[in-house]
Symmetry: C2
Subunit: 501 residues, 2 copies
Amino acid sequence: MPDPIEDLRTHLAPIEDLKAAATVLRWDQETYMPDGGAEARAQQLSTLQSTAHERFVAEETGTLLDRAADAVGDAAPLDTDAALVRVTRRDYERAVRVPSSLVAELSKAKSQAQQAWTQARQHDDFSRFAPHLERLVDLSVEKAEAIGYADAPYDALLTAYEPGRTTAEVASLFGTLRDDLVPLVDAIGDALPIDDTILRGTYPQSDQRAFGRSVIADFGYDFDRGRQDVSAHPFTMSFAPNDVRLTTRYDEDNVASALFSTIHEAGHGLYEQGIDPSLARTPLGDGTALSTHESQARLWENHIGRSRPFWRHYLPALRDRFPSALGDAALEPFYRAINRVTPSLIRVEADEVTYHLHVMLRFELGRGLIDGTLSVNDLPERWNEAMDTYLGVVPETDANGVLQDVHWSQGAFGYFPTYTLGTLTAAQLMEAIQDDLPSLSEQVANGRFDPLLDWLRSHVHRHGRILTAPDLLERATGAELSADPWLRYAENKFGALYDLA
Amino acid sequence: MPDPIEDLRTHLAPIEDLKAAATVLRWDQETYMPDGGAEARAQQLSTLQSTAHERFVAEETGTLLDRAADAVGDAAPLDTDAALVRVTRRDYERAVRVPSSLVAELSKAKSQAQQAWTQARQHDDFSRFAPHLERLVDLSVEKAEAIGYADAPYDALLTAYEPGRTTAEVASLFGTLRDDLVPLVDAIGDALPIDDTILRGTYPQSDQRAFGRSVIADFGYDFDRGRQDVSAHPFTMSFAPNDVRLTTRYDEDNVASALFSTIHEAGHGLYEQGIDPSLARTPLGDGTALSTHESQARLWENHIGRSRPFWRHYLPALRDRFPSALGDAALEPFYRAINRVTPSLIRVEADEVTYHLHVMLRFELGRGLIDGTLSVNDLPERWNEAMDTYLGVVPETDANGVLQDVHWSQGAFGYFPTYTLGTLTAAQLMEAIQDDLPSLSEQVANGRFDPLLDWLRSHVHRHGRILTAPDLLERATGAELSADPWLRYAENKFGALYDLA
């Protein structure tokens, strides 16, 4: 008897294998690959990606989807088979609309732009990057036109990362956020600064590694189904729910850097390890949106890892691990130090408050490039103006300004806002969690994380891509995404820390 | 203007990429993959292999080969384009002859046999493995019939590893070898044993690693185009001529184990790193036969690494690295210890002399299974009889006897003889090298390896698969493969070491 769902799964599974294989190759590229391997690796990745893409955009996928759609009919939102058809259809429609000639042009332009960006940043010379960025903007607009959108071309790019969200919605959320955030940052700037010299000292990498591993193992990150390595930029990659890998980097002069990056990546990793194993080898077996992914990272990093109860439990162990640097560290100064807020030039070094001003700036400028209201040539000046307005600091060089991020050179327009959407999502989930788990603070102060992890597994992780980010949040919290929970969290926490009125 | 060679290359390059990607996944599986990743990895590898296979056996390959053959005509043996057509045709004919149903059956049977072998070895119970081995023998014979052969089905299996060689030729070489080797081993057994306790002591892994790396870097192994990691069984894998990776394992109680394994694998690695880069992403871009590969490993391991001139140069550095264990080690006892010969039960622990008796035994028994003169049920008894005849030792358990190697459970009939063919090849190359480089010993004693590496690069490495192993050897040494050079080497070296008449 024919089983159209099974036929669809059988068709999609090897495509997922090819994508997973590409992820293994990228993981290796960032961790262990010798320099000499770069050229061959680029070719291998290109072949894997194009092989997976060709199989996916084949007519057969459409035919199998049509048959499977008839078989599932109107099913409940959490029905896996219906979700498989729904999500695969969404991916398929998007993929077939972009002509393969444009895919190839974009791929070539990105590769050239990344090389130009590296050079431009190294020589602090935006003009080397400008023509490549212009080309990427043009091709991205072309791609957006091919995909189609209701309101603005930026919508079509945003939905690659955030299915179900619009540019207007993001702009509105960011507007609310900005109205409260800029005054909060100003007030913190006028308050007595926090001293964080306690974090500086000598912290051998092997001890940092052991401590970080013990913390995330306590959270529930499973080292039998993952590992942690070192890379230039921390990341998480999943090859399967049972093989989810983290990386970090170590600063032996600062105890906080690798630890919070480890906790952050473990948040991503716990999400991937928690996806229902039955979704493996299907398009449902990933995190549903970048914002949902980032919410898991930020929830563990900031709401747990930068909280007082957490350090009530872990500071003694940290002191034991680093007796000469931290032997006499007390809870309150340590807690204050890891929550210091100070405007700075570089996004990836920003604290959890000012970070969102960096993101907003990038969202506004990126959107302007795509909708044609901002020209590439005006970008550096507009960047510096916005830095001054939002953060009160202005970079002296473009290398520390508009050239600091790799993302635009990768053509990733629509990507930056997901960081802040993730933070808002984390705070909104956290309010729901605190309602459901009134003893959470006490549990965290006792090093017990299983109630929290169970909640996240059940409301977020296990669903994979069955629900879109908006649907998932609505089911988990009963409300649409709002900036208010995070603003309440930030105003409470940092109001107290900085003794604000 | 159509270019049939270029069309063929364009068709083959992504197939090579897929195979290289599979190699990256296997490397990861043996080095860093967490246990949980095994199931998904098997699926990913299966998809990569079947995708590469389907593309290769497609009719298009045959059409492109026909057109390319017309274009190259009768070219010189070293002409790359002609070799591309010749070697790809050979691979293609072999691949299309095996029905995909048989490929799938073999793949399934191997997977089941490997699990059964693991269990059988663990419980020292050959009967658990026997039915699986029978099935693999039957399927291998079926495969041999599909491929075709001139003389014996074993020929068809052997040529997977050794194009251009026959079972009869191997049997004849091994006959010559056995006639001299068994008396040599007997004579050594009657001589005063060599004391190798000097090799035992405490040798921290990090120091062993540093020393091994320095030695193979001196040889010319390029760490910018490779790396060395740890795995349960040492191996070398190439993803591209510029990304060739070695592994080893460390025994902290023995200074010789990891060092000679490192040198051995570096021999393989130098071969792969030395292949003409223009052959990358073609079927020519690998070592030409397993015996040629093994010859490079054995040449560096035994002819160089276990020689007096080598230790004249390196023993002082080794003493400095391990002052407490080796501070007063003198050259002669050390040289004797690393060349100790003693019959033993386990092939992978055997010395360079008795090793070949282990190989012969496997060749003879494996060939018997395939030509039907030996039944699986009689195998353990025949194994033990042969051990007694050849080595004078008999295993007390099948786990230490017929079940010790994984290879037959992988259906790798025809594989074992390549080890000894490689050793014979190494000795024959070495006589030619000594003719061309009369100062080789002096160079080695001064830590200078570039003349040797240049010779190997020029006569062996750079050709990739352009020449078959017999053609390569004939061009490099002016003679067909013979057992005599190795017998001369062994009788000289071990005659002196054991003071034989």
